[in-house]
Symmetry: C2
Subunit: 421 residues, 2 copies
């Protein structure tokens, strides 16, 4: 197979299909989603057989247990996929909504209509559930999609591609509305991210290595997430009864997520009261604390204590490790955040109105919180209904990205024969 030709053909087909996907009405797009859900239920044995081929190959290749786990399409995983599709059907249709319609002095009426982006390329790891999840969100938002899943899931993805194409055709939508790249050749990714004539945006879902590579090579714009170095700042005027559970939850609810707190900043005057109480909770989970000299002194005797190095302020641990620093107040806290944050999520714990307002306004991160755990930075918790990813970028979409992030606004003008003078 000539990869360049194959990808050009795939792109051309996606672009052609995107017009029919965009003009399809809500009922048609929902019907396709329900047909896909039904077909997954019907073919679940077949899907598991295909998945078994992938699993056998993965085990033979010595893949690590975490990857095998993600690759596995259990009965429960299939049920979750199907339930996810049905939830997407229930979401309101973002496409076609018109807002801000205003009459202008010239007589024209101007507003903005929400429309699909066009063709979305999704690059992800060997997780077959993402194939269905991403296809579902793109169909719902009226986009055509090109999916590139991890090569270890190729058999399962092929089987899913057949089901998705069947669902699209059954609803009268073009089968090329969702295409899965049917090659494990890595050059396909290079082609996908450099054909802006056919692809409007790339959504990479994967680790830092993948994203860094894409950033260096892509000429198609990306909605991307790099890392989450999230901070909680406990202010002088914090309510300790809020500060302690929030700072515990932000670190210990889950360690491997991007919205987990990685650095705790504590104001000097409150630190002696708050740090020992937090230390008790962290000790119950064997969290290692990497402390600056001041917090180190206050934490003396903590069983998993280490001195923080400069590198700790820049590290996304994704592990039971927390950097801790005493600061002189909100300005020093915000300076630290400006210097080291990945602009993902930061939270201030305070009862001081003006401090809360300053933090909300001045901290330049995708999510800025008062008196809440950073773990809330999530599409479902925010009420988006679904999440295609979390964006660290500033243009287009910041923070959790739902269906709206897969659309844009065009201007619409209702006239009555007006001409410009």
């Amino acid at each position: 197979m000539n990869i360049t030709d194959y990808m050009q053909t795939t792109g051309r087909q996606a672009r052609a299909a995107s017009r029919a996907m965009a003009r399809a009405d809500t009922a048609t797009r929902n019907r396709a989603l329900l047909l896909i859900a039904d077909a997954i239920v019907r073919d679940s044995a077949l899907l598991r057989t295909a998945n078994q081929l992938d699993l056998d190959a993965a085990k033979a290749a010595g893949l690590d247990p975490a990857m095998i786990d993600r690759l596995t399409l259990s009965e429960a995983a299939i049920a979750t996929m199907v339930e996810g599709l049905r939830q997407i059907v229930a979401l309101p249709d973002p496409v076609g909504e018109i807002s801000n319609m205003k009459v202008r002095p010239s007589g024209i009426q101007v507003g903005q209509m929400r429309v699909p982006l066009g063709v979305i390329g999704i690059i992800y790891e060997a997780r077959p559930n993402v194939t269905v999840d991403a296809a579902g969100l793109c169909i719902k938002s009226g986009n055509a999609t090109i999916l590139r899943g991890g090569s270890e899931a190729i058999n399962c993805n092929r089987a899913l591609a057949k089901i998705v194409a069947e669902g699209l055709s059954g609803a009268g939508l073009p089968a090329h509305g969702v295409q899965i790249i049917d090659t494990t050749d890595r050059a396909a990714v290079g082609a996908l991210i450099t054909m802006p004539e056919y692809v409007d945006v790339i959504v990479p879902r994967g680790g830092k290595g993948l994203i860094a590579r894409l950033m260096a090579e892509a000429t198609v714009p990306m909605i991307k997430h790099l890392d989450g170095i999230c901070h909680v700042y406990i202010d002088a005027k914090a309510d300790i009864e809020k500060a302690v559970p929030v700072a515990f939850n932000a670190k210990c609810h889950r360690y491997g997520t991007c919205n987990t707190m990685e650095t705790l900043l504590v104001e000097r005057s409150i630190a002696p009261a708050v740090l020992p109480r937090l230390a008790e909770l962290y000790a119950s989970r064997q969290v290692e604390l990497r402390a600056d000299p001041e917090s180190f002194a206050l934490l003396a005797g903590y069983p998993h204590l280490a001195a923080a190095a400069e590198e700790d302020w820049k590290t996304e641990y994704l592990a039971p490790i927390l950097a801790v620093k005493v600061v002189g107040g909100i300005d020093e806290a915000m300076d630290h955040i400006a210097a080291y944050s990945s602009k993902h999520t930061e939270s201030i714990i305070t009862e001081d109105y003006s401090a809360a307002m300053r933090f909300l306004r001045e901290v330049d991160s995708a999510s800025v919180m008062v008196n809440a755990s950073t773990r809330f930075a999530d599409g479902f918790e925010y009420g988006l209904g679904a999440e295609i990813g979390i964006s660290n970028d500033k243009l287009h979409a910041r923070g959790p990205v739902g269906l709206e992030g897969l659309t844009s606004l065009k201007y619409v003008v209702f006239g009555h024969g007006e001409v410009r003078n």
Copy 2:
């Protein structure tokens, strides 16, 4: 001067200044704008002397009259600049606005706050008025700015830079909030568009050659405008009394603007009635018509008639030339537009409700109109109050870009000590 070092320093200074620019309140940013306006009035003789140096050099270098014209800072141009700044002061402040605040089942309240993008790089031609105009919009929207104007305007831009810095300082804002690249070395542009660590977005204002070069090299995202191949489609059910003035205005109001119609599509059954009437008007302006065979026949005897070639459908004439084609109906019109439009602005002339709704929904352009001249695709006509440019991109901002396009939305969360379960 080492350009790399100079640009790194400029970028670092802009990033540092951006925090103070973003947190400044509305009154402070407006005060800076008014101080700049006053200083321009005070120093107008000085500015004109600096401009004369540029003009002398430009004339000695043999620049064409159109460029000399754009470079000239007349008294009227100075007055317009000052008036523009005062209009920007009067615009509502987009920064800090919170929308969509919702209470979630967890107890947190989530909404979105409009915030500055950070550092904006603007690259433009030798037009000193753009220096003030762009600086004004960036100050108003709370951004730090790096301006790179055409090298022919360097003396005038230096004088303006001094005035802008004085205005910023006078209002208590960092003088580095607006920096003008003080070198004519073209390598400075290459550096500016490849330092995403310091620059959040590039807004190029210039011809296609400039944009094409930037697109090939930039790693910083751009809000850009490539070209305007705009269409008017006169439908079978058009009101001829609207169709004729709109199609005349769309072509002849101004020839050199990006929202000027370049191709006219006319439905077959109405063409014999509408084309001769339009031809009379176009003839009065010596517009050359490049016609497909069917319209060619209907236009027989028109004094400036030529047969359209394939290339004509792809050409932005920016001149008194119009491509004309007869089509079978709305589907053929939309197919032609999908194939050849630059996705800038298209308008349908029709009294048919369903045709109007289909055109609005299905045509994938930044502005889609019914019964109005394409010339309305403009920030002022749309009521944005100001315009930094027009975007052909799909992400972030489409169509005319005003102050909002220089901002983005971050999530803000008001909590009460909530933790995630």
